[in-house]
């Protein structure tokens, strides 16, 4: 009885669900929110779905790390959501590439636009067209520890003076802390001197007087006033503030949730720049709702945008979600109007500048960060470095621009290109005639073997060699973000990319005393990659062999040791790599503190090429030993124990046993493992990217991270593909050589 009632209820529920699904059209909405912000956001969507029956919005939360990739994989291919929430600074790239976002001018009236301050609307506009509605804004402001600093400093001079009072570097106390080498934060200084990185026409203008002055001011704060900690990261800034070791920090609303309960704080707008007389104008990131060009019902999607940015929705997001709503009328709500923190960010917005949404801006972030890191360490002079940066970025931008103009010319497929498929067909025909007999014979003789291999090969063919072919094809073009969707032949450039990579002999940059090795050079990167691979594999295999041998024979606590020693493999390497990075922090990392306890001098781990190389090496060896050890342990098991018995009876020593029995019999297992680990280490992206990030200034980048930077930070997709092909060719040669070597050794024995 009970059960049938249960069933009935379930059935009704199902019916209701089905009814609901049928009732309305479904609009997919992607966002990256979590926690309270997400709860409030989904509550709003639920309300919307319940309020009417025509449209049902289905929300999907995507974690930040995969969000941009997910959008750029799905949207241009007609997949993905109807609308999505994302920061506005990618807009220029998307709009230029096409197929990713659609303008919404047609669907929104002035009434809706009046909800937002003009600078937020400007952020959503590119090339004169509006692409989305702003939902929320995030900008840094000054956060004071009110136990240490009572009144908000009115000017930067006052702020620096106050900060100096609270700085005691030996005790690890700082008057001011912020991620000052991150361009997003440096923007506040930059904008307070002038126009920022672009001139009015949208051309890159990084080395104008104003920008140089902003860098000089930062250098004074770091090197002369010494009020800022070394190697700042947002985690470090938060930790310092929570322990009362930073009197003031510059950070945004995202930090508020992490401030420890006992810390009294107050948020105030950033002070006036004493040198220029203008207020520090931080960059503001605007989270907008964007429309997919593939949405089947754009009007309904924009109606959802309209609803989500309405005053009542904005109030809910502000109060429950802790968001700073872009619909500023929400700040009149009594709950928000009396919230000093929210109102401080609101005041900060008055002078804040949206991050330029030009595609070129995305090229600026990393090189500018590298330049800032260099100058605050005294490794370069601000003026020279900014000129250098401007020159370097101009070259990259010119490349992109060239591809755009090429994309604009409607090119015909060159006639000779028809010869390529023709030649391929002829070649296939010839090969078929030539090899049919031997192939058929081989198939007859070894049918079992082929059948055993076939399933694996089929999978490889579809999922590995097609992507490879795609990469190969891409590498013969000059595909960038601007001409991604133009016909292939209009992008075709032949071997230009390869010539540019392999013919890059500009090993030096700068003149005279400024002359330094150009770390973007292919051959430098290759050298680092080879050193990186060789040192890693040697250390990892050697140490793993020692540990495996120690574990092979019974010993007290053996299974315990075995379990402990594989732990680095079991825990996601993303977090352990970041722990190692933290341990190498020059001021607060335990490694330097241990060195100091032992009476040694601390090492500036990320300042020099050698030290920075060591950080990656240590982390990677630590990460890769467990895997190697398990492989070798398995291999040791396959060695018949009787051999050792015989050797012992014959009076052979341990070293002899190791050399005559263990090593040779381990070889069938060890050689493939070594070859594979060379290939993997050569392409080890995570560790380099997370630990040293190529510091200093890209000197420790390996080929794969460089290829990534070219593809995803400079948008030169084809150049990155050519880079990858070069990597593949190098590794292929290595594998051939290694296998030939091991085969000759085999014969020699």
């Amino acid at each position: 009885m009970l059960r049938s009632a249960h069933f009935l209820r379930l059935f009704l529920l199902l019916l209701m669900c089905a009814g609901q699904a049928n009732a309305g059209e479904i609009l997919n909405l992607w966002h990256g929110y979590r926690g309270a912000e997400r709860a409030a956001f989904e509550q709003l969507i639920d309300d919307y779905n319940r309020g009417q029956s025509d449209i049902q919005v289905k929300a999907l939360a995507v974690p930040f790390g995969g969000y941009a990739d997910k959008l750029s994989a799905a949207l241009p291919r007609g997949q993905g959501p109807d609308l999505f929430v994302f920061a506005h600074d990618r807009l220029g790239g998307w709009a230029s590439a096409g197929h990713t976002v659609a303008p919404i001018d047609h669907y929104v009236g002035d009434g809706v636009l009046r909800r937002f301050p003009p600078n937020l609307i400007a952020a959503m506009t590119f090339g004169g067209e509006l692409y989305g509605l702003p939902l929320a804004f995030k900008s840094p402001a000054l956060i004071l520890n009110t136990d240490l600093v009572r009144t908000a400093p009115a000017s930067t001079d006052a702020m620096v003076a106050e900060a100096r009072r609270h700085t005691d570097r030996k005790a690890g106390r700082f008057g001011l802390a912020y991620s000052y080498t991150e361009p997003f934060f440096h923007g506040a200084l930059m904008n307070s001197f002038g126009a920022g990185p672009f001139d009015r026409g949208g051309n890159l203008d990084l080395d104008n007087r104003a920008n140089i002055e902003s860098v000089e001011m930062l250098v004074r704060w770091v090197r002369d006033e010494r009020i800022l900690p070394d190697e700042p990261s947002s985690t470090l800034v938060t930790s310092l503030f929570n322990q009362g070791r930073a009197a003031m920090v510059i950070s945004g609303p995202w930090m508020l949730g992490e401030i420890a309960p006992g810390v009294n704080y107050r948020v105030v707008p950033l002070p006036i720049n004493s040198q220029s007389g203008l207020p520090l104008a931080p960059w503001v990131a605007v989270e907008g709702l964007f429309l997919s060009p593939w949405s089947k019902n754009p009007a309904a999607a924009v109606a959802v945008m309209d609803y989500l940015t309405s005053r009542s929705a904005a109030e809910k997001m502000g109060i429950q979600g802790g968001q700073l709503p872009a619909n500023i009328s929400a700040f009149e709500h009594p709950r928000i109007a009396t919230d000093d923190t929210a109102m401080a960010f609101r005041r900060q917005l008055e002078v804040a500048v949206p991050i330029p949404n030009l595609p070129a801006m995305t090229l600026v972030w990393v090189p500018l960060e590298n330049a800032l890191k260099k100058v605050v360490k005294g490794a370069a002079q601000p003026e020279a470095e900014m000129h250098q940066l401007q020159r370097q970025l101009s070259v990259d931008l010119a490349r992109l621009e060239r591809s755009r103009t090429r994309g604009n010319i409607p090119a015909q497929m060159p006639a000779w290109l028809w010869l390529v498929p023709l030649a391929l067909v002829l070649l296939a025909l010839w090969a078929w005639r030539r090899y049919r007999k031997p192939l058929a014979a081989g198939w007859q003789a070894n049918r079992t073997a082929y059948l055993y291999v076939l399933p694996a090969m089929l999978g490889m063919l579809v999922l590995v060699f097609f992507p490879l072919l795609y990469g190969l094809l891409l590498s013969f073009t000059d595909t960038t973000v601007f001409n991604e969707y133009t016909p292939l032949w209009s992008r075709f450039v032949g071997l230009d990319n390869y010539a540019a990579i392999l013919g890059d002999f500009h090993l030096w940059r700068g003149q005279g005393s400024d002359r330094s090795i150009d770390f973007d050079n292919f051959y430098w990167t290759l050298l680092i990659t080879i050193l990186w691979t060789a040192s890693n594999v040697t250390l990892a295999v050697g140490l793993a062999l020692v540990l495996a041998l120690a574990l092979d024979k019974p010993i007290f606590g053996r299974s315990g040791f075995r379990l402990i020693l594989i732990l680095p493999w079991a825990i996601p390497n993303y977090i352990t790599a970041l722990v190692w990075k933290g341990m190498f922090h020059p001021q607060f990392g335990v490694i330097n503190q241990a060195l100091q306890v032992l009476g040694l001098a601390p090492v500036a781990w990320f300042d020099s090429i050698g030290a920075s190389f060591v950080t990656g090496l240590v982390t990677n060896v630590w990460l890769s030993i467990p895997f190697m050890m398990v492989v070798i342990l398995g291999g040791l098991q396959s060695i018949p124990r009787e051999l050792y018995e015989v050797a012992r009876v014959e009076g052979a020593g341990r070293w002899f046993q190791f050399r005559a029995i263990t090593l040779p019999l381990l070889k069938p297992v060890l050689i493939p493992a070594v070859i594979l680990s060379v290939v993997w280490t050569f392409n080890m992206f995570n560790v380099i990217y997370l630990v040293s990030d190529g510091a200093p200034a890209g000197a420790n980048d390996i080929l794969i991270t460089k290829a990534f930077r070219i593809g995803f930070e400079k948008y030169q997709y084809a150049y990155a593909a050519a880079y990858s092909m070069v990597i593949l060719a190098l590794l292929f040669c290595y594998a051939l050589w290694q296998m030939r070597l091991s085969r000759t050794l085999e014969v020699a024995r």
């Binding site: 995507v62 974690p63 930040f64 799905a74 690890g172 070894n446 012992r648 069938p668 594979l676």
Partner: protein, 306 residues
């Protein structure tokens, strides 16, 4: 070590004596040292996870403390132990569900990957056919192309052509193929070490290739299969980017995707991430514990030696 000493040991099988002898051996010292180095960074993860906070308290050294005290201060221990982070990880999001999804995907990957690679590796090891070397090389080449640049073409194949977007099948296929080269190479290496004579006599007795493969080779290669199986499992277990790109339904996410919710561009909840990481690595440790039995299976023959 000569036979006489070995003989004495067999006469006096006192357990405590053996433990003491083990502890004072160089092997033990080495293993202890290695374990410390392995554990130290992990201790940071553990202490962050159990601190209930999102970022770690920075170490502060007192100037007047003795060297030993200062070294002790470098041991990362949270100021107070709490399970708050674990509770938040498990309750804020359908974490257990994602863990279950991951288990399904990872075990299926192991199964598919192992069956594909065992058969292929057996053929590569035991048959001499045209294209054998080239075939092995092809497997290797697949590892040489940077994975970041494979994202778009993989998306095109799996989601657009095969229509396997938003399904585990797509993920399982991609993961198995990703793990395949390693599995094939390692298994071939192990198969090569197995004596051919057993198979020859079985063939003479009229056994089919398949019987030999399943009845003789696979059982003999258990340590290798354990290692490669673990590898295939890990490939699927920790993968994040493809899973987040292919899945359009939160209830189908795998656990690495769920973990990354705690990390974003601005603020990252490292405490929750650490707690989640520990939860994620527990199944792997359990798996390894069970596989240990296979890893040491060849030991029976060598149990006599010390």
């Amino acid at each position: 070590m000569n036979a006489a000493i070995a003989g004495i040991k067999r006469v006096v099988p006192s357990r405590s004596a053996r433990v003491v002898r083990d502890i004072f051996s160089w092997r033990f010292v080495l293993l202890m040292f290695a374990s410390l180095i392995v554990l130290y960074p992990l201790l940071w993860v553990v202490s962050l996870a159990f601190s209930g906070q999102q970022s770690l308290t920075l170490v502060r050294l007192a100037d007047d403390a003795s060297v030993a005290q200062q070294l002790l201060a470098l041991v990362p221990l949270p100021e107070q132990w709490t399970l708050d982070n674990f509770r938040a990880v498990l309750t804020e999001q359908p974490f257990l569900r994602w863990l279950g999804n991951s288990l399904v995907v990872a075990f299926a990957t192991t199964l598919v990957g192992l069956s594909l690679s065992c058969t292929a590796a057996y053929a590569f090891s035991r048959f001499r056919f045209a294209g054998r070397r080239r075939g092995m090389m092809l497997f290797l080449i697949s590892q040489m192309f940077p994975a970041v640049l494979m994202l778009i073409p993989l998306y095109v194949i799996v989601v657009q052509w095969l229509g396997l977007g938003n399904s585990w099948l797509g993920l399982i296929l991609v993961y198995s193929i990703t793990a395949l080269p390693f599995c094939v190479w390692m298994l071939k290496g192990y198969f090569d070490t197995l004596p051919y004579e057993i198979e020859e006599s079985a063939l003479l007795e009229g056994a089919s290739r398949w019987t030999i493969f399943t009845r003789i080779i696979l059982p003999l290669a258990r340590p290798a299969i354990a290692v490669t199986g673990l590898f295939a499992f890990m490939t699927a277990w920790n993968e994040f980017i493809l899973a987040s790109i292919f899945m359009d339904d939160e209830s189908l996410y795998t656990v690495p995707v769920g973990l990354r919710f705690f990390v974003s561009d601005y603020a990252s909840e490292w405490g929750l991430f650490a707690a989640g990481s520990i939860l994620v690595s527990l199944p792997v440790m359990l798996l390894f514990l069970t596989l240990q039995r296979f890893l040491v299976s060849g030991l029976a023959a060598g149990a006599v030696k010390g």
